[in-house]
Amino acid sequence: MKLWNRHTIAGKLMRLNLQVTGTALVLAYLAFLAYDLYTLRKDMISSLATEAGIVGENCVTALVFDDQQAAEATLSALEHSPHIRWAVIERADGSVFARYTHTGQASPDLKTSLRPRQSMAYWTRGSNLLLGSRIVLQGRSLGAVYLLAETSELAHRAGQFGLLSALILVLCSIIAVVATSNFRLLVTRPLTELAGTAQVVSRERDYSIRAPLPRSRDELALLVQSFNEMLEQIQQRDHALEDSRNELEQRVRERTAELTEANKELEAFSYTVAHDLRGPLQHITNIAFMLEGGNSASLGAEAQALLGKLVEGTNGMSALIDDLLNLSRATSAPIRRTAIDLSVMAEAILDSLRADEPLRQSQLSVAMGAQAFADEGLMVVVLENLLRNAWKYTSKIEVAQIEFGYAENGEGTVYFVRDNGAGFNPRYADRLFRPFQRLHSPNEFPGTGIGLATALRIVARHGGRIWAEGRVDYGAAFYFTLPNDREA
């Protein structure tokens, strides 16, 4: 059976055909041969018995009147039955009365004889058949006649049968081959084509291919048709899927383009606004300065207080403009990375902060050696925002503690700025980094709400991450990472 598995269906069918016809033929041959040989032998025995009967009948008077010549004359008629090799007529007492030998045959050698009361019997002598028949006259046994016939006819018949069967077998084989090739045309070829199509479809995922429909209208045609319908459905679904995906992509592209455009416009706008506001603001500041400086004596107390508020407002606005410009720059300016020392940078910033308010009590610590590979100008903006925030939110603490440090963890160096200031509600930690979102009122702590947004953008543009931890009245800590791209 294992061997069979390797053959095609057509091959299997042909083998099956040949096996069935071959077996049937061989069996039929054997059955017919057996039957034929059996009947032939029976016929032979019967005809031999008839001949023996005739010979016996014709020898009755010869036996009765002891006429050997007449008996031998009768026997010589057996000349016309070439298959009879010899014949013997025996008297009732068992002595030989007459004998006959076909030309070229050995002389008769009778080893067997009929038992008393036996009228007829036969024996097989090699390939020959010996038949004995009693000669009876009016109920009295006169003797017996024995005929030896050769059965080569049987072997001849078997040979002829074999030849005929072999011929039929060859014919059947040819028919089987022809029938199988017909079958191949009708069944196997559509099946092979279907299998091939299925393979191509599965390999290339091309659902536009169709299996050729066979000419016959049988189960196979139904199978092929169903297969094609299935492919059709899959193809339709595939199309729908691709269409919707393309549409989605197109929509995303459009939206992205729109957003990018809007962003650019917004940035340009804010930059322009901030930049263009500077001029007028400078005028106002200058006038306020001149008023304060030159004519302060002529002004009333109320006017002087108003002037102070004016100067304060212009300072706030100036800071806002600076922050906006920083934000804008942080967004659009190209990044030029160099090796920098954040510790030195932080120290310088803290020094300037302390110089601004020399009366404040503070404990400032900077861990030395915080190396980074980043844009120097932008990193100044980041550190300035974080340290200035810390300075600002510790303003109400008796002794401000501000720390800049760094530590190594799984994702590289994490830099941090920690303080013991006002802190914040951790629930709103993510709102800290959104522009103009503030957790404290301007009366408590003045500010533009842009600084942390700027820091976020710069760190993000460096491929890093920034986050905050803190609790109300227990200070805050800001962490950021700067992936070291020097090696990259």
Binding site: T61, F65, A70
Partner: protein, 200 residues
Amino acid sequence: MLSTHSFQALRRGLRTKAAAAVCLAMAGLMALAALGQPSPADYDVKAGYLFNFGKFLRISGDAITPRRASFDICVLGHDYMGQVLDDLAANQSIDGRPVRILRVADAYAASECDIVFISPDEGDGIPLDLDAIGRADVLTVGDSPDFLKYGGMIQFVVKDNHVRFAVNLEAVNRTHLVLSSELLRVASSVTGRPPAEAQP
């Protein structure tokens, strides 16, 4: 007590006497044969034949003779066959009739038989006997040399020391008797032709 020597001498003497007896008997037989006289052994064979002729004999359908209850085989004249014939026929039947062996004194009695053997002792009386039997449906058998010439039907002859028989169909055809062709086949000679309607 006899000595071995004397016993052998006695045996030799006996053997010599037996050989002499056999020689005498053979000489007698040869003399008989030379005279044309049938030997007693021939009569045993003839008795068998006589009995067997009945098996190949029938009477044609147009016969008016009433069918007898027994099949009678008769001997006319001196009976050479004797007890042999009686033994052969004992408890036998032919054509469904029990066989009887009769010794008849004259031809008239013989004409009531189925088969009659006319003894050679009848001599010159044989033609008269045959005339007396006439056309009666009796198979006449004899072994005298001119038996057929006198109108007999079957005559025994000795050929090469074998008993054979000759058939005179003309005589047979004068009666309603029919002899089987098989019998004629083994006859040493047949005179006359079988009638067309008598062919089996």
